[in-house]
Symmetry: C2
């Protein structure tokens, strides 16, 4: 058997968002050797987008892979299908229908290409380089503009029969509850625990409490950052916004725990900047909704990965998965 020198292996990680696409060459230790970004929304045609990626990345590969081996390409993208390597009807991207993205990438770059959605990629990144190293059972929940999730059971990412598993943001936490601005569902986790949901809660609550510091902002300035600022100044309404959000999130997490009994739940994304304002009520309401056999067992922690790099690292981790 030939010995494999891990230090010589490199993966290309690409994270496609609605606005920007980030990419980086990553080694086995999760160090980014080189990175960059292009604007996703500039390209109406997917082939043009891939050409732009190639023009940007090919020189980096030539520069960094003279004494190293590029093992492959991992891509995190909204509505990416792990099994087919396609992007399917992604609402935030301009390329409509079912796009055979992995095939097009592979043909252009000459390397194998694997894809999954951004939250699954983030979970792989945590397992490979972050707070979930060595864990075989954990759930990653990303609290950003939306709520995403990646679920690892028995050391494997849960993809489901069609590659779309792990849409925990769309599970219903309050039947007949708040209507979701995009899906139309009523009472989903995302409607409460995303940055968007927190802003809705904050706007409602500041209207009820005229003395709240939240009232010093214009309507469009209300977001999880400004709520956090007010909470730090001791504003009870702002603190209640996070407590309420944490309650809804904690109730949802309890249900997830009784599904897959994870060792840890990792929280990630802009919302976690609120720190204990959100973490403490989340933990409390998770625990009180658990069966006794699950109580006090699940670590509820924040991600260890730098948010700016996590998406690239996660996408690159797809290349090492099952290697």
């Amino acid at each position: 058997m030939a010995l494999i020198d891990l230090s010589k292996q490199v993966a290309l990680g690409i994270d496609i968002g609605g606005t920007n696409t980030k990419y980086g060459l990553v080694n086995h230790r999760g160090e980014i050797l080189s990175k960059g970004k292009i604007r996703t929304e500039k390209f109406e045609v997917v082939e043009d987008f891939i050409q732009e990626l190639y023009d940007n990345i090919h020189p980096l590969i030539q520069q960094h892979c003279q004494d190293k081996v590029l093992e492959g390409i991992g891509v995190g993208a909204p509505n990416a299908n792990y099994y087919n390597g396609t992007i399917e009807h992604a609402p935030n991207l301009k390329w409509k229908g079912v796009v055979p993205f992995a095939k097009l990438m592979s043909e252009k770059f000459g390397y194998p290409c694997k894809m999954t959605n951004d939250a699954n990629a983030a979970a792989l990144g945590e397992m490979m380089y972050g707070a979930a190293r060595g864990m075989k059972d954990f759930i990653m929940v990303t609290l950003g503009t939306g709520v995403g999730s990646g679920i690892v059971c028995g050391g494997n990412l849960v993809y489901g029969h069609d590659g779309f598993a792990g849409e925990l943001g769309h599970t219903i936490v309050k039947p007949n509850g708040r209507k979701h601005w995009s899906t139309g569902s009523e009472g989903s986790l995302e409607a409460y625990a995303s940055a968007t949901g927190i802003a809705i809660t904050a706007r409602k609550m500041r209207a009820e409490f005229p003395e709240s510091l939240l009232n010093r902002y214009n309507e469009d300035e209300i977001n999880s950052r400004t709520v956090h600022v007010c909470a730090l100044e001791g504003d009870p309404t702002a603190i209640e916004v996070f407590r309420y959000t944490g309650q809804k999130l904690g109730e949802a997490l309890a249900n997830f725990v009784m599904f897959s009994s994870p060792q840890a739940i990792l929280l990630f994304g802009g919302v976690i900047k609120a720190g204990d304002f959100i973490l403490k009520p989340t933990r409390l309401h998770m625990e009180r909704n658990l069966l006794p056999i699950f109580r006090g067992k699940v670590k509820l922690v924040f991600s260890e990965l730098d948010e700016a790099d996590a998406a690239i690292l996660g996408a690159s981790a797809l290349v090492w998965e099952n290697m």
Copy 2:
């Protein structure tokens, strides 16, 4: 490599319930060569129980395994821990604390012994011999006195980090809802969709509708069977009991689908005798709570295994798992 003659292999499956324990010798095709049962509740001491099992089963092994090989023992039991082979604080059994059941069995019988809870065993049985043959992603939900579940992702049963995954009956489907008679939780799936929960719903609804046929029964005769009898006679109240139950169950199933995206959900247990009275509203409310990408994809079907034998078959399937 030696050829293995599957037709010569036999597994011993044992299903431990609070009242009775059933056992059977099962071959690779799911045929029960011989079976029997003993009373669980007769034995205050677990060693006496195991002795009784041995006295009953050892002659069967001698009789049936002259030209066959007993590969091992699989046990389904409440609160069984797959990783440790223990039964831990099972409320319905007389043996208190943590019982090293697999070890005791193995020492007495001289064969390896694996354990899991009854619902997980049932899921393995379906995968091996029943409606889930060939499926890698499905969820089994047992609707009996309680609500149990077994979850298969990527071809593997989900045990979780501690062996206790898959307690879907205790997930909360209606925050601050009906108080559970035993756990004290408010609004769990089991409080609505178990036979016990259906009886509670039926007692409430018949009090609201004096003309309901359900009122011809005594209070203690109200159960899912008598509700079914009235539904078959066209009683609108009885039909509404199942519709309401199906709504709660369907809402819960939608959340499960968005977790692991299974190819199918299998329903099992006494409650499914109500047939379409429960299946149709369950399917409707599952579908309407799903994100569009999941709609119309998940088969919602009843178990194919004979209820009397399913527990034995499921326990025996533990022996073949990962073989």
